[in-house]
């Protein structure tokens, strides 16, 4: 493994990208875009809209690349930008609401028991959550943010963040139980 070389290569690409070297910027984009699109897809149901949010995120990455001071991983820095950009994209679509009354939107049913825990199924379970529940759940459970950080990012209180998370878990659990009962033939 040439980890050291890779690390040096990324650092060199970052330096070149700061000087507006288009090739270096494209190399960085190709290295991190698949992962970042997946991150945006956590929050946005439509993959095309998620891609739009990802493009906006990379635009901010390259225009503010000078502010990256090598204090952490470059991927973690990009990821934080993508999360904020996805949330702001939902706000522009006016789809981000933190309602107290939640209901499960998905009408899909589990067809295959083996695929119960597949990634796409998990994604669909997450997509079925209301927007407010989904964002808080993803930020806490998948991204690892604390309630304080979630509250600051979303502009809500910590109690609202905790409530949203609780309800999201409750819904997911109830959905999984339903799916399991159906799969095992119990009601």
């Amino acid at each position: 493994m040439k980890v050291i070389h890779f690390y040096n290569n990324e650092q060199q690409l970052i330096k070149k990208a700061i000087r507006s070297n288009r090739d270096a910027q494209r190399r960085l984009y190709e290295m991190h875009s698949p992962k970042m699109l997946s991150v945006c897809r956590y929050y946005i149901k439509d993959v095309h809209q998620a891609e739009e949010a990802m493009c906006n995120g990379f635009l901010k990455v390259f225009t503010h690349l000078k502010s990256f001071k090598n204090e952490g991983s470059f991927e973690g820095w990009i990821r934080r930008i993508m999360v904020r950009e996805s949330i702001s994209y939902l706000r522009t679509l006016k789809q981000l609401h933190f309602s107290e009354d939640g209901h499960f939107e998905s009408k899909e049913t589990v067809n295959n028991v083996k695929s119960a825990m597949e990634v796409e199924h998990l994604q669909k379970l997450i997509d079925a959550l209301p927007e407010g529940y989904r964002v808080v759940f993803v930020m806490y459970a998948i991204e690892g943010y604390k309630h304080q950080e979630i509250a600051k990012t979303l502009g809500i209180s910590e109690s609202t963040s905790k409530t949203q998370l609780f309800k999201a878990r409750k819904l997911l659990q109830s959905k999984l139980n339903t799916e399991n009962n159906l799969s095992y033939g119990t009601t």
């Binding site: 698949p34 992962k35 699109l37 897809r41 956590y42 493009c55 635009l59 990634v119 998990l122 994604q123």
Partner: protein, 277 residues
């Protein structure tokens, strides 16, 4: 603990996922980056233009300030061109056999010519006729100087030119110092001579008639200016009437007395003549 296990499982599975973007995604990003860089370049050009105009304004103000100071300093050196002109004029006037003797004599000339206007200033209170007399005095003084210069022995022109250039350089370097040398005995002699020349001119020979004539001319000029407005090319009728009335009735005390005496004398003479008849 089940939800936590579920969340950990979800996190693990989702972290492994990668979704390839479309080919057009990078093109959109590149086009937006080009637009952003164009804006930055325009802002840089704008800031550079503002900075350049600010620096140009500073240079212009400095230039104007230094130009103003230099013009003020030129005022202090106003006298030097006169002296230099005098030196040049004297060089032109002096023919080869009639050059100066030494530097001091040339300085005497400078002092003489400078003193003449100072002496004439004392008599400016006498009127314009006196000023004319002063000019005559100056000319006579200059003529006398030329006569004196004729009497000086001949000197090599090259040497004299050197002395003149030396004097010019001294004037240029310190113009006021040369003019302000009061302690030279030769200068005192020159000064005395000037005073003698001035004393010889009898200023009392200016007659009253000449004064009256000059005053009349001045009065006529004033009246003509009052009557005729050069801006509108019109004659003031009221001023004209007043002027005519003044001519008709002089109203001077002397004339009134004279008229009264004349009338009384005529009456007395007529009475005596009639008594005899």
């Amino acid at each position: 603990m089940a939800p936590l296990k579920l969340e950990d499982n979800m996190k693990e599975r989702l972290e492994e996922r990668k979704i390839e973007p479309t080919a057009a995604a990078w093109d959109r990003i590149a086009s937006k980056l080009d637009a952003e860089e164009g804006k930055e370049n325009n802002n840089k050009v704008l800031w550079l233009a503002i900075a350049a105009s600010f620096i140009a304004g500073i240079f212009i103000t400095l230039f104007l300030i230094t130009d103003g100071n230099s013009s003020g300093s030129k005022d202090q050196l106003v006298e030097t061109p006169q002296t230099e002109d005098l030196i040049i004029r004297e060089e032109m006037e002096v023919t080869p056999p009639k050059f100066l003797e030494e530097n001091n004599s040339e300085q005497e000339q400078l002092v003489e010519v400078q003193e003449m206007p100072a002496a004439s200033e004392k008599n400016t209170m006498m009127g314009t006729g006196i000023q004319e007399k002063e000019e005559i005095v100056q000319n006579t003084a200059e003529k006398k100087m030329r006569k004196e210069m004729k009497n000086t022995p001949f000197k090599d022109p090259a040497v004299v030119k050197e002395t003149t250039t030396i004097v010019e350089n001294k004037l240029k370097e310190s113009p006021t110092t040369i003019l302000e040398e009061p302690k030279d005995p030769l200068k005192e002699m020159v000064k005395n001579e000037i005073e003698g020349i001035v004393a010889k001119v009898d200023l009392n020979t200016v007659t009253d008639e000449e004064i009256d004539a000059l005053l009349l001319n001045a009065q006529r000029d004033i009246i003509s200016k009052q009557l005729f407005n050069s801006e509108t090319n019109k004659v003031d009728a009221n001023a004209l009437l007043l002027d005519v009335e003044a001519e008709v009735d002089p109203a001077t005390f002397r004339d009134k007395v004279y008229d009264a005496l004349k009338g009384g004398f005529q009456k007395a003479r007529d009475a005596v003549a009639d008594r005899n008849n």
